[in-house]
């Protein structure tokens, strides 16, 4: 879209954002300025989406001679209205950067330097390596005779930054090769939120969207730091606060979010279950005394509160020493965690609508959380009692009909061995307060990267194909398409997209079958153990981001080969260099460095945390010979097809029959259309997942994306700034999956007859014959007519207070982090009973390592800092690795602000600059003083600003649900350096 500035100004003024920002400008233009000369640089015309966090701010690029000369916020975007944060404002320096890689490079075994090469040779060599490793290790049939068609010898990690179309092709290529170790950053970022919210309400992502935060009456940020990690989202928090919304922040650290909160509670790391458990207990007690203050119809009708549970079910409240019934010493048998059946009741489930039966979920919940008294909460969390009580009252007030509260959280709620259960407490609270589905409500688990959601949902995690849960990759025993039941149409349509005319029963077995846990931590263990010999890294930097990153550094040295596709020579790329503390001559790993184009240099769609897909256009030409991921994948697949042509064994058909006609260079629009899907009889693009057929007559690469690229065009590219909803849905801006629905579970925002609980902020309403407003979450008439309940992804349509599907218990229970200076004050069960460990190094004990530590990120640096530590504007503001510590601890250790200090854990030791602050305080728990420090994880040994990585200290522990590591709460010690 090439527009001149005048057109752009008109375009801006036409939009709401444009009016806001440029309305006041129009008057000035009439002024005759005394010294006026033409601008030496343009402001910007071509639009893109900022590549950093999950907010998805739109930006405008000025392009001259194929170079970007200016980038600033896009005033038309209803999300960011022209603003950006400091990272977004620094994008110019990504596009114009001396550190960018411009040519493919190779490093041979034992070599001390790179050798420059060209794309033809680099791709030919990489394809040969892939084929060699694959064919030498490929398993077609396992010992039980199951077709498995997989190799565990090649792994792929990354990413969350490519466009969705690139991630889709990446996934398609990797699966066709039979690769099963496929992971990205989502695993170690917020995977626990997906598991938890899936259990509670049916879907993982943020249930509403950024702008909707302005509709909240109270926003509780817990286990997240929205002002720093998602700065522009704070626009909507600020707008809400300006009109009287209360902002609560619960966090171990007083951050830039706390600075703008009405109520701030400091909690010891790893104790959010106790804190929120206490709020749940308050709400349940208050419901008894003041039922009129709550929407009891919602609780009774839209949740499983009235469902009766097996009378043999027991939990920690029944003196089981912190455990639930079914414990066999190493894991749970969950047969007692089940609903009582009753053939005379609908859904064959016994229910008590009065919520008084002692076996109903509501009463079991009361019993479970009754132990989370104010005093117990204070004892465990170290929080201030009166602040806690005020937070209980303030947040519980959102339970009234017509009131809405949002729980906003991110990685810090998730990155712990209790991550999933922590997020479960948020969901339980939101269901009890009738905050799901309504405007200003929601479970807002924020993904950390711009396309974290978009990439992960293309199947860049081992347990999803494109389209997530319902099209999971088959396991070893799933030998037939019929295993997919009601989801069969989604899978067969995917198979038709990938294998065209091949019968889907045949192509189903082209797919590799999973035979174990292939998630992040086992993946690196497999490298360490020599099982995995080749690794492909797409714009990901595990040497900085992974738990116990020193172990990852060592594991990489055991690889036969590694291919890194990145903008820069990252820490992961340079693991063999002296900068990493390595001796190159002793490392025989062959390294491919393939220079990638940045998002500003390519075209495609990205999906923000709130599920909005937005299209980005190419601005600059990539530097030198850098290429987009799309181009690289295309070239690699075409080469592999060439290598496998004529071969019959080793499931070669999966590669040779793979549909792959995107042109050269590949056309991103063809990929987007393949994802959307076609009616194969007519050749027309589908319009909705409802069109999918299980008879092989439809193709669809990703059913969630079905509807984004239809006969009416590219929906993600839409830029309509009007909002007919009056609650900020902006349905014509981009396209939200599923079906352009902006607020999920919105059928819970209305009563049984379809009338909104909140007349002033209706999301949808039944007008007697149809729904008006947002796209309804399920098109059936209201519940009273259809008996279709609002949480349609759950089997009974109800939100689940009781979560029998989790391996660590149906209700959240407080356990201590793996490394903790304190005993569990709630029960004798110290840790999550089904905690996962891949750690081979020691566990820190509180005598040697008495200080609790967490890691964090900040406004100025993103993730491993691979990008931001190479931009002088950001490095100027945050130049060095640092550690935040309290004044009390500083005094004890003789440390002053700006001193270099050494921090040690049982895994390693790092150096950092001391930031001594009143914002961190020691916790006084039961007469014990617990000191607490915080470390950013954004540094590494390459780049403009170098420093030690906080992850040298963290441990390879995991939540049993997703294996997410425990970055938020581990033990260390420190002294002056």
């Amino acid at each position: 879209v090439e527009l001149n500035r005048r057109d752009f100004l008109k375009l801006s003024v036409a939009g709401t954002g444009g009016l806001l920002l440029y309305g006041i400008m129009e008057g000035d233009k009439a002024l005759a300025f005394s010294r006026q000369m033409p601008l030496k640089k343009k402001v910007g015309e071509r639009t893109t989406v900022c590549p950093y966090c999950g907010v998805g701010c739109s930006a405008i690029m000025a392009v001259e001679d194929s170079k970007i000369t200016n980038i600033e916020g896009d005033p038309d975007s209803p999300i960011n209205e022209g603003s950006l944060c400091s990272k977004g404002a620094s994008l110019y320096q990504v596009a114009n950067n001396q550190y960018r890689e411009t040519n493919p490079k190779l490093r041979g075994a034992g070599a001390t330097e790179w050798t420059e090469t060209n794309w033809d040779d680099a791709i030919a060599a990489l394809a040969a390596r892939i084929k060699e490793t694959r064919d030498a290790t490929f398993v077609e049939v396992d010992k039980d005779g199951n077709i498995v068609n997989r190799t565990e010898a090649i792994a792929s990690i990354g990413s969350v930054f490519p466009n969705s179309e690139e991630a889709y092709l990446m996934s398609k290529m990797l699966r066709a090769l039979g690769i099963v170790f496929i992971e990205n950053e989502a695993r170690i970022c917020v995977s626990a939120a997906i598991a938890a919210d899936g259990e509670t309400v049916g879907r993982g992502p943020m249930s509403n969207h950024w702008i909707d935060l302005v509709n909240s009456d109270c926003i509780m940020v817990i286990g997240g730091n929205i002002a720093e990690s998602f700065p522009v989202a704070f626009k909507w928090v600020t707008r809400a606060r300006n009109k009287g919304t209360k902002i609560i922040h619960v966090d171990p650290r007083f951050t830039r979010t706390s600075a703008k909160a009405d109520l701030y509670a400091s909690v010891r790391p790893g104790t959010d279950i106790a804190f929120v458990g206490g709020i749940i207990r308050y709400v349940l007690d208050d419901m008894e005394s003041n039922p009129g203050n709550y929407n009891m119809t919602y609780v009774r009708e839209y949740t499983d509160a009235p469902f009766l549970i097996n009378p043999d079910f027991a939990g920690p409240a029944d003196t089981l020493n912190g455990l639930f019934s079914g414990w066999d010493g190493s894991k749970y048998d969950n047969k007692t965690w089940a609903y009582q059946s009753d053939p005379d009741q609908p859904e064959n489930i016994k229910k008590d609508p009065t919520l008084t039966d002692s076996h109903c979920v509501f009463q079991l919940l009361r019993k479970h959380f009754a132990r989370y008294t104010d005093d117990k909460v204070v004892e465990i969390t170290g929080t201030d009692k009166s602040t806690f009580q005020e937070i209980c009252r303030t947040y519980a007030a959102t339970g009234q009909r017509g009131k809405a509260g949002a729980v906003v959280f991110s990685s810090s709620a998730c990155q712990r061995t209790m991550g999933t259960q922590t997020v479960r407490t948020f969901g339980i609270l939101q269901l009890l307060l009738a905050n799901m589905g309504v405007a200003g409500g929601g479970l807002d688990g924020i993904t950390g990267a711009v396309n974290g959601l978009g990439c992960t949902l293309q199947g860049l995690v081992n347990h999803w194909l494109p389209g997530a849960d319902s099209v999971r990759p088959p396991s070893t025993t799933e030998q037939r398409v019929s295993e997919y039941g009601a989801d069969k149409a989604r899978l067969t349509s995917l198979l038709k997209a990938w294998y065209g005319d091949i019968d889907y029963n045949t192509s189903f077995n082209y797919l590799p079958k999973r035979g174990g846990d292939y998630s992040w931590q086992p993946l690196f263990k497999a490298i360490e153990d020599g099982v995995t010999k080749g690794l492909i890294c797409w714009g990901i930097n595990p040497v900085v981001s992974g738990p116990n990153s020193g172990s990852i550094l060592q594991a990489l040295q055991k690889l036969d080969w590694i291919a890194v596709i990145d903008l820069w020579e990252t820490e992961t790329t340079a693991f063999w260099k002296p900068a990493a503390g390595a001796n190159p001559t002793e490392i025989n790993t062959e390294v491919f460095l393939l220079p990638a184009a940045h998002s500003l240099e390519k075209e495609g769609s990205v999906c923000n945390s709130s599920r909005w897909n937005q299209w980005r256009y190419q601005g600059a030409t990539p530097p030198g010979d850098a290429k987009s991921d799309l181009w690289i994948i295309n070239k690699l697949v075409l080469k592999l097809k060439e290598l496998y042509a004529g071969q019959t064994g080793k499931n070669a058909a999966a590669i040779t029959h793979l549909t792959w006609e995107y042109g050269e260079p590949p056309d991103v629009h063809l990929v987007a259309k393949e994802m959307n899907g076609y009616d194969l009889k007519t050749g027309t693009l589908l319009t909705s997942p409802g069109n999918l057929k299980d008879d092989g007559t439809t193709s669809c690469g990703n059913w969630l994306w079905c509807g984004m690229y239809t006969g009416d065009g590219n929906m993600a590219a839409r830029r309509d700034t009007t909002d007919p909803s009056s609650i900020g849905l902006f349905p014509g801006w981009g396209w939200a999956w599923p079906l352009n629905r902006r607020i999920m579970y919105n059928r819970a925002s209305v009563d049984l007859d379809g009338t909104p609980w909140d007349i002033a902020r209706p999301v949808i309403a039944w007008d007697g014959s149809q729904w008006v407003g947002d796209v309804p979450d399920g098109g059936w008439p209201p519940v009273s007519e259809s008996e279709k309940y609002p949480f349609i992804m759950k089997s009974q349509g109800r939100g689940c207070l009781f979560g029998p599907g989790r391996p660590d218990g149906p209700f959240p229970e407080h356990y201590e982090p793996w490394e903790s200076p304190l005993a569990n004050y709630m029960s004798p069960q110290q840790n999550n009973p089904v905690i996962k460990s891949w750690e081979t190094l020691a566990r820190g004990n509180p005598t040697e390592h008495p200080i609790v530590a967490t890691t964090n990120r900040m406004v100025e640096h993103l993730h491993t800092g691979a990008i931001t530590r190479r931009l002088s504007w950001l490095v100027e503001m945050m130049p060095e690795m640092f550690v935040e510590l309290s004044r009390e601890l500083a005094e004890e250790k003789g440390i002053k602000g700006g001193d270099t200090v050494i921090i040690e854990s049982a895994r390693g030791s790092i150096r950092a600059k001391a930031v001594v602050t009143a914002r961190l305080k020691p916790y006084r728990v039961n007469g014990t003083t617990v000191h607490y420090i915080n470390l950013p994880w954004n540094w590494g040994y390459m780049g403009l600003s170098k420093g030690d990585s906080g992850n040298r200290l963290t441990a390879r522990m995991g939540d049993p649900n997703t294996g997410i590591p425990e970055f938020r709460g581990f033990l260390c010690n420190m002294h002056k350096g």
Partner: protein, 277 residues
């Protein structure tokens, strides 16, 4: 109609988009810094950093607070820099603020020395005296004049939380007064609108939830007497006797020496009980 920027510190999250957006639009490089035990950096304004956000930790009523403040040219109505500038490089724009034409700057450094807010920055060679001053130009630098092209200043455009606003000064004063009133009713009894009256009215005004000294702002900024003498007496005299070059060079050295000492003693004009962190 005078224009102004309104900075509402109570809405600022210190994301520092403004600090970077200023550099991006004005083509200013990053400055090499070290961590001095604080989030704040660079420690002072520099010729390449015309705007920075300050971080202050306070304890009020037993609670920790983190206060953010914007530091850049205040665009005074009674602008000392305009008075002392011998070349006309610094002038009042017709919209009220102080604009700057670097091509006209002789590098004399008088503005650097006399600014009551310690804002202008100039790196000079101590022997030749050759230097150029730099400061915020309200995005009206010739060739990079956003205002006359119909755009807001870069810092205002970037701000995610509306902590920075650009508009008619009169209207912003009304809005800011209301905002201060709200803060007072919320219990911030020292809430203050800084810049409404100071130095004849600043064109960058501040909504503060506490008194100016808590934010490191001078409570009674003044035009130094020496500056009045310079413009009204010495400068015409200098022209008259034709000894400008000689006097200028001599003063140059003195001012340069003083400016150097100023840089070594940052914050000399700021008195604050708050910790910068």
């Amino acid at each position: 109609m005078a224009k102004a920027i309104l900075y509402d510190s109570t809405l600022c999250t210190a994301c520092r988009a403004c600090q970077v957006a200023c550099k991006q639009w004005n083509n200013n490089d990053g400055v090499e810094t070290v961590n001095l035990g604080s989030y704040e950096n660079p420690p002072e304004l520099t010729p390449e950093t015309w705007l920075k956000i300050e971080f202050r930790e306070v304890e009020r009523e037993g609670k920790v607070g983190w206060l953010f403040n914007r530091r850049a040219c205040m665009h005074c109505t009674e602008a000392v820099c305009v008075r002392v500038c011998p070349t006309g490089a610094l002038t009042h724009h017709e919209l009220g603020f102080v604009t700057y034409d670097k091509d006209l700057c002789s590098g004399c450094g008088y503005c650097v020395d006399f600014c009551p807010f310690n804002v202008p920055r100039s790196d000079r060679n101590l022997i030749t005296g050759l230097a150029k001053m730099d400061k915020c130009t309200f995005c009206t630098t010739p060739g990079f004049d956003r205002l006359s092209a119909g755009y807001e200043p870069a810092c205002v455009k970037s701000c995610p939380t509306d902590a920075l606003k650009y508009g008619d000064r009169d209207e912003l004063v009304v809005e800011a007064r209301q905002r201060v009133q709200v803060l007072k009713t919320e219990g911030h009894t020292n809430a203050y609108l800084y810049g409404e009256e100071e130095l004849g009215g600043l064109h960058v005004m501040y909504v503060l939830d506490d008194s100016p000294e808590v934010y490191g702002l001078p409570v009674h900024p003044e035009v130094p007497a020496a500056a009045i003498a310079w413009q009204d007496v010495i400068q015409p005299l200098g022209w008259a006797v034709g000894g400008l070059a000689l006097i200028g060079l001599g003063l140059n050295y003195l001012v340069a020496r003083k400016a150097k000492m100023t840089r070594e003693l940052p914050d000399k004009k700021e008195k604050s009980n708050a910790t910068r962190s």
